[in-house]
Symmetry: C2
Subunit: 320 residues, 2 copies
């Protein structure tokens, strides 16, 4: 297998779990009988919005940073990220005592910029194009020798993300299915590998906005499909897969549901109101698919990954 398609196995996810344990929260699994009533299934929410830096991304970043040999780590790490992975990498670098650079688009949400800054990373702003962010990353690497830690196209990152499902399935062993939101596919790939490593009969599903349905199309065509510019409110999911994450999804994922923007806002508000949890729009996408019936899970016991909680509290999307 070429290096660019390397994926972790269950053993690698278990090793990641031990490696990251001192640095991340073991997040709770919460339930809501009133939301169960609305969707006709029994849902177990793994609350990664309560994770360090407010997102599951802490898991992958910590695993990647703590997997580096000491001499390599000492030169620092760099990434481009619309936010949560950037903050997570900054956090991981701070815990290891190494420098971090984060390349961010100038139009990134304020709350996500603040999260990166609070963790003490050096931020480099660039215009919001792939070419500009890659150039900025290359520049940092050239100056410092820092290692690029990609937000999802990285086996150690995927292994770290898979640890959330490992914990969820330890807490609730008799699930029928798990759903993760899908942007670049790192969380869904890690979840799928962990879930099928533990039980081949577990159903693994993804969820994405209809306005960013590249993963569903990629799963159908068998190749990484492009994503036209999208303004979906689920800003964490405005990303295409990589060949690596697509390979994991093709091996493990039964289906990817899609949902409307309205359903995302409705699901997000339900989670605030009934579960008393602050979640960002991306977190609400699996529930939005369940509300719109695009994932065939009626009557099932379903684990749902709530991916993060970094949202601008000055204006929530249902407020006019």
């Amino acid at each position: 297998m070429p290096h660019s398609l390397r994926l972790p196995d269950l053993a690698a996810i278990r090793a990641a779990q031990a490696r990251i344990a001192p640095h991340v929260h073991r997040t709770p699994v919460l339930t809501s009988s009133s939301i169960d009533g609305e969707v006709g299934a029994r849902l177990y929410f793994k609350c990664e919005n309560l994770q360090k830096v407010g997102a599951f991304k802490a898991r992958g970043a910590v695993n990647a940073v703590f997997s580096l040999p000491a001499d390599v780590a000492g030169r620092g790490v760099v990434t481009h990220s619309s936010g949560n992975h950037g903050a997570a990498l900054a956090y991981a670098a701070r815990r290891r005592g190494i420098p971090a650079w984060v390349v961010m688009p100038e139009n990134a949400p304020k709350v996500k910029i603040a999260n990166v800054a609070r963790e003490g990373a050096t931020i480099r702003f660039c215009v919001a194009t792939v070419a500009a962010r890659e150039a900025a990353c290359a520049e940092v690497q050239g100056e410092s020798g820092a290692t690029l830690i990609h937000p999802f196209d990285n086996a150690e990152v995927i292994a770290g993300q898979g640890t959330a499902a490992l914990e969820l399935l330890a807490d609730v062993p008799d699930l029928d299915a798990v759903i993760a939101p899908c942007g670049g596919g790192g969380l869904l790939a890690g979840t799928a590998i962990a879930a099928h490593g533990l039980s081949a009969r577990l159903r693994v599903l993804g969820a994405e906005p209809a306005q960013a349905d590249d993963a569903a199309r990629s799963l159908a065509s068998g190749r990484v499909e492009p994503l036209p510019t999208t303004t979906t409110i689920a800003d964490g999911l405005r990303t295409t897969l990589s060949p690596r994450t697509l390979a994991a999804l093709r091996a493990h994922v039964e289906a990817i549901g899609t949902c409307s923007e309205d359903a995302i806002v409705r699901a997000m508000r339900l989670i605030f109101e009934r579960m008393k949890l602050v979640v960002e729009p991306s977190s609400a996408v699996p529930l939005a698919c369940l509300l719109e019936g695009t994932l065939p899970l009626r009557g099932a016991r379903v684990g749902v990954l709530l991916s993060g909680g970094n949202v601008d509290l000055d204006r929530l999307p249902w407020q006019t």
Copy 2:
């Protein structure tokens, strides 16, 4: 001891814990290193905002309802409440399969009215005076034979509220202190009895808005001090103590901190932003006191009761 001063002991709180366990969540204890940094203490938040009906009130109401003999319970229960206890009593009655009536002031927050309605209780609106609500309760009792379950002046309710501290101290046994917000004093009384039942050296503190500082004044004078009409944003704390709850506080509570309205909003926003938890203003009052330095807990390991999460999400208090 007169019946009107009867209080539960640790054994009663343990019995309550067993009685209510099938009907309430065991809520998680969460921490935030960034909030710890802001207050200079190590805080362990007991998340009763994640409790059934969104507030610790579910504990006391379930304990009271399930403590009633079958023939008495069959005639139903009634209470007056600005909201959380009303919803909690409705929930408890539904779980036991008995009728519930909730008397509410016409100006109660929308979200709290909706919570009571969702649990299936019969709501009777009255004008917002003590006389009107007592008359409405008496009317229901006369018609139905329902038992009045007071929001806090009730030994079984206090025992139920104390179970949150029992769980907190089981999860984090080596705390130096616990803080609960104080309205009528049911939560603080139950917390204090549970805490001192487990360890005499545990420090127990209360917190209330400076605009509703009747508990601090009552502790100083030794009698239940009145509370002039207040518009504190912490609507759950606009209540005086009863002789019963005051007796518990005098026996156990070291101090009651007070805080400004601004600090309540700031603390509430911090909990949303850093902990990703939806809390109502009353929940934020202990942290507000810590931010303003009115509770002497620097460097301590402190359990903080987050009392509830029922807040109007259409407009949060920091939004203009």
